[in-house]
């Protein structure tokens, strides 16, 4: 179907598919589920960051015969969590590499006794020296991972960077840092596992990727595919935080279920979830940039270092996305990007909305403002002079074949925010006001779908069938966790067949029922999986026309009648489609060259920030987000994605600080890990420009991660505009503002004496 065709359901603000259940309080999250004979399970964790386990003692005051106890020795298959590399044990065996690493599992019918028992296990260690920072890891005096602490590295080169420095009119350098960030989904990680000899393992859980968990369990239990079944329950937020961790948790619960012969529920409380599960990778990014006298980019030399934590998890692919987003949405003939993920003895960092891009975009978009002030050019003008346009090539030499409308997005954002008039007004007001106001901009893209050859390797399969009760059913392993998968895929299927929204249902995300349509990550669901559903629907119509007399034009009723005729003659009414890469897509995994992503979503964000020089608090007063994400499939859901992402980005910039002590999260409570509340978020003004993408479902590109990429640099740029002081590190808390702003006041006072 043409992406410009008029649609009935796609593009309409239809109501969230599972909305009524959620509003009535009857949606069933994992902790709402009870099973006959179910026991709670708990985890005994390491209290030191690195060392050998010398002994495990059990307090004699506890009757341990009542408990099921699982250690690494109980694992029937391989003791590792299967992700990209197999370096992370499911349970520590003789050595621990970070605080809060799982060592022992306990289960007991009484949750109070279980809690007492966890504290009654005494583990003796022979400590080894740990490392906690990128810099310590880089020194390689202590090697805590592999042969050199380098979990992954990339080198990407375009042109000849070193030929440029000598003759460049300007060279600007800068170093930028970002901290860890916790997902803070309001529902903690949790699963239920059951086991019996005949059926094998069944897991129900709060998770993003049922087939990731499935694959991981196969390895841990050494079972054939049909003896492991993974079912997603209603999921109360994920943001990447339930991409890889559920593989670990599911294995733990299943081990206890197998040994105890009881269903096991493991639902973390907030303190355990914060201490033990993954977070966004901290980063340090250095830019060295050459420009000509007109402010055109000549060379970008970028050095990226991320903190991977103790095990590799998804650090390699996060680093890849950071690398590919680090040059920003600009044209530059000479680019060199060297990136490395460094191991430390902290809880492994993992996937989080944006997946490396927020770190990289913070650095380049702060750096663009630093360049602008250094070479004395307006930051808006500097960006305009260097924006990518159609036909330009990126750092990977990908030609921008689809329209790139950054200028148009920027014009709209400037107009909607009244940027120039406000900047002028603030410049007049600020000198006599204790509250300094400023405006800041960030320009960026986010690549939709898996990087490079990723989607080809995934080789996703998805489709639809018709149920005997007369519903079209969407068959995908892609999960709903608030972002709107159910609604969007239902809209796509209803539109593609030409039936009503209520004629379509979602199959449960259950590996026993649905094919592997890939993980629900990387802003791929609407664009990639949606496209598979669109194709599967067209294929189904063709099938019914050929074999069941479906007419050229038909009503819903006629469609389901034809389906039943087909069923009577041929059996199941099902249509599945496998991923096909868009044509002319080339990617070289070795040289990191070619089409890094099939499509890009583009955005300009503007923040209006007030810095109170009495309290040293920074407040985002107003926020504008203008973006091009292809066709908008549902304006209410799309707006919600942008607003939610912006709010998380504001938290990333100004509120959310993970405090580590010996690699353990010291502020692992909502009392002292602070996210923005209803009183902290500004009004967020959202505008879409729509350019349908030929290879996405009804023209859709990715949307989910994009909005989290821009707020941090836009806000810190606004703070620089307000105060004249550059901050190059987030989170930026009042104490950080105080330190630098007071230091400047002292210097200024000294100068006036």
């Amino acid at each position: 179907m043409s992406t410009n065709a008029k649609t009935r359901i796609v593009g309409a603000p239809v109501l969230r598919k599972e909305g009524v259940d959620k509003l009535l309080g009857r949606a069933r999250y994992v902790d709402d589920i009870d099973r006959e004979g179910m026991w709670p399970g708990a985890t005994v964790r390491s209290t030191i960051p690195r060392g050998f386990i010398r002994s495990i003692g059990f307090d004699r005051r506890i009757d341990w015969s009542e408990f099921t106890i699982v250690s690494a020795a109980d694992i029937p298959g391989k003791n590792h969590v299967q992700l990209i590399f197999a370096d992370q044990p499911c349970l520590a065996d003789g050595i621990v590499n970070h605080c809060d690493e799982a060592i022992l599992l306990l289960a007991h019918p009484d949750k109070h006794k279980l809690r007492e028992a966890v504290d009654a296990v005494h583990i003796e260690y022979e400590p080894l020296p740990p490392i906690f920072t990128i810099e310590e890891s880089e020194r390689q005096e202590l090697v805590v991972w592999g042969s050199d602490n380098v979990v992954k590295s990339f080198l990407l080169e375009k042109g000849d960077v070193d030929s440029v420095w000598a003759d460049a009119a300007h060279i600007v350098e800068g170093e930028y840092r970002t901290g860890a960030q916790e997902h803070l989904y309001i529902e903690n990680n949790g699963v239920i596992a059951d086991w019996n000899e005949a059926a094998g393992i069944t897991v129900w859980g709060s998770l993003q990727c049922p087939y990731y968990v499935h694959r991981s369990l196969l390895a841990v239990f050494d079972l054939p595919e049909d003896k492991v079944r993974v079912i997603q329950t209603e999921t109360g937020g994920a943001f990447g935080g339930k991409e890889d961790y559920p593989s670990t948790l599911a294995a733990h619960a299943a081990l206890l279920a197998m040994k105890s012969c009881h269903p096991i529920k493991m639902v973390y409380d907030r303190m355990e979830d914060l201490a033990a599960t993954t977070k966004r990778h901290p980063s340090r990014i250095r830019h060295r940039t050459a420009l000509d006298k007109d402010g055109k980019l000549l060379a970008m030399d970028i050095d990226i270092a991320t903190d991977a934590g103790a095990y590799s998890t998804l650090s390699s692919t996060v680093l890849s996305r950071a690398t590919l987003h680090s040059p920003g949405p600009y044209v530059c003939p000479n680019v060199r990007i060297r990136s490395r993920a460094w191991a430390t003895n902290t809880v492994p960092y993992g996937a989080f909305r944006g997946f490396g891009a927020p770190q990289a975009i913070f650095a380049i978009e702060r750096h663009m403002d630093e360049i602008a002030s250094e070479i004395d050019i307006d930051p808006i003008e500097l960006r305009r002079r260097n924006f990518l346009h159609d036909g330009d090539t990126t750092a990977t030499e990908q030609v921008m074949r689809d329209p790139v409308i950054l200028d148009q997005l920027l014009d709209r954002a400037l107009r909607e925010s009244d940027y120039h008039a406000k900047r002028a007004r603030f410049a007049t007001e600020n000198p006599t006001s204790a509250v300094k106001r400023g405006m800041g901009v960030a320009a960026f893209y986010h690549g939709s779908g898996f990087t490079g050859s990723g989607e080809r390797y995934l080789n996703s399969l998805a489709g639809v069938d018709v149920t005997p009760v007369g519903k079209l059913r969407v068959l995908v392993a892609n999960t709903e966790f608030g972002q709107g998968t159910n609604t969007i895929l239902t809209q796509i299927a209803a539109e593609a067949i030409g039936i009503g929204y209520d004629d379509v249902i979602m199959a449960p995300a259950d590996t026993g029922i649905v094919p592997n349509s890939g993980p629900t990550v990387a802003s791929r669901t609407s664009m990639v999986v949606g496209r598979l559903i669109e194709r599967a629907c067209s294929q189904l119509i063709a099938m019914l026309r050929e074999h069941a007399g479906l007419g050229e034009h038909f009503t819903s009723e006629e469609f389901f009648e034809a389906s039943e005729r087909y069923r009577a003659a041929h059996g199941e009414v099902v249509s599945l489609c496998r991923y096909e890469a868009p044509p002319n897509v080339f990617w070289d995994d070795q040289k990191y060259r070619g089409e890094a992503y099939p499509a890009y979503a583009w955005s300009i964000q503007i923040a209006q920030v007030a810095v109170d020089t009495v309290t040293y608090s920074a407040e985002v007063e107003d926020f504008w987000a203008v973006q091009e994400v292809g066709r908008v499939l549902n304006p209410v859901l799309a707006g919600g994605q942008i607003e939610g992402g912006v709010a998380q980005g504001i938290g990333y910039a100004l509120y959310e600080k993970v405090v580590l002590q010996s690699g353990h999260m010291a502020n692992n409570q909502m009392t002292n890990y602070i996210m923005p509340t209803a009183e902290d978020v500004p009004l967020i003004h959202v505008f879409f420009e729509e350019i349908p993408f030929q290879h996405g479902a009804f023209g859709a590109k990715g949307i989910g991660e994009l909005p989290h990429d821009g707020p941090a640099p836009a806000i810190l740029n606004a703070i620089k505009d307000a105060t004249g002081v550059s901050f190059r590190s987030i989170p930026l808390l009042p104490e950080d503002l105080f330190e630098k702003l007071v230091a400047r006041e002292i210097v200024e006072e000294a100068a006036t004496i």
């Binding site: 309080g25 209603e234 937020g237 009392t671």
Partner: protein
């Protein structure tokens, strides 16, 4: 903590309920485990996130911080008590239409906070809405569409007020 259970009585969503429980058991757990009213959620267990918000004797409380003993004789309302005879409460309808619920885990608590707000202030200003919902954390929406939902429900109040005046 008392080791012996006791019988407690209170009203939940208009129905008289009696439970034999430990008096220091959290009201949240009594609702979820003893009464199987699982609409009320636990997010943090320390009164920060508001997912377990319920109304008790006309006040908004975090049920994770209330020992059930304190609920003796109380009139309690949970999310399950909002809809009447199969039709959504105006706030539920507004949340559905405005996109006020995404993942849905904060939604029951958010709905109770919004119900409480509109019960004492049927036409709140934006600042009053923000203040009224400040104890309830939502990680998905950025709150914007939750504000829209409360405004939409309040507008329905307004039109029903006007209908009353017109009569």
């Amino acid at each position: 903590m008392s080791r012996s259970q006791c019988m407690l009585r209170f009203t939940v969503n208009g129905q008289d309920r009696a439970v034999r429980v430990f008096p220091m058991k959290r009201l949240l757990d009594v609702l979820r485990e003893d009464l199987r009213l699982t609409g009320t959620k636990e997010g943090c267990g320390e009164g920060e996130c508001g997912s377990c918000s319920i109304r008790m004797n006309g006040a908004l409380v975090n049920s994770c911080l209330v020992p059930v003993l304190q609920a003796e004789g109380a009139d309690i309302q949970t999310v399950e008590g909002l809809a009447t005879s199969g039709s959504l409460h105006p706030l539920q309808q507004a949340f559905l239409q405005c996109g006020g619920a995404q993942c849905g885990i904060c939604t029951p608590g958010m709905l109770m906070a919004a119900t409480q707000l509109l019960s004492i202030n049927p036409h709140p200003t934006m600042a009053e809405i923000r203040e009224g919902l400040a104890g309830n954390l939502c990680r998905c929406t950025g709150f914007i569409r939750i504000f829209d939902s409360v405004i939409a429900a309040a507008a329905r109040n307004q039109s029903s007020d006007q209908a009353v005046h017109a009569r």
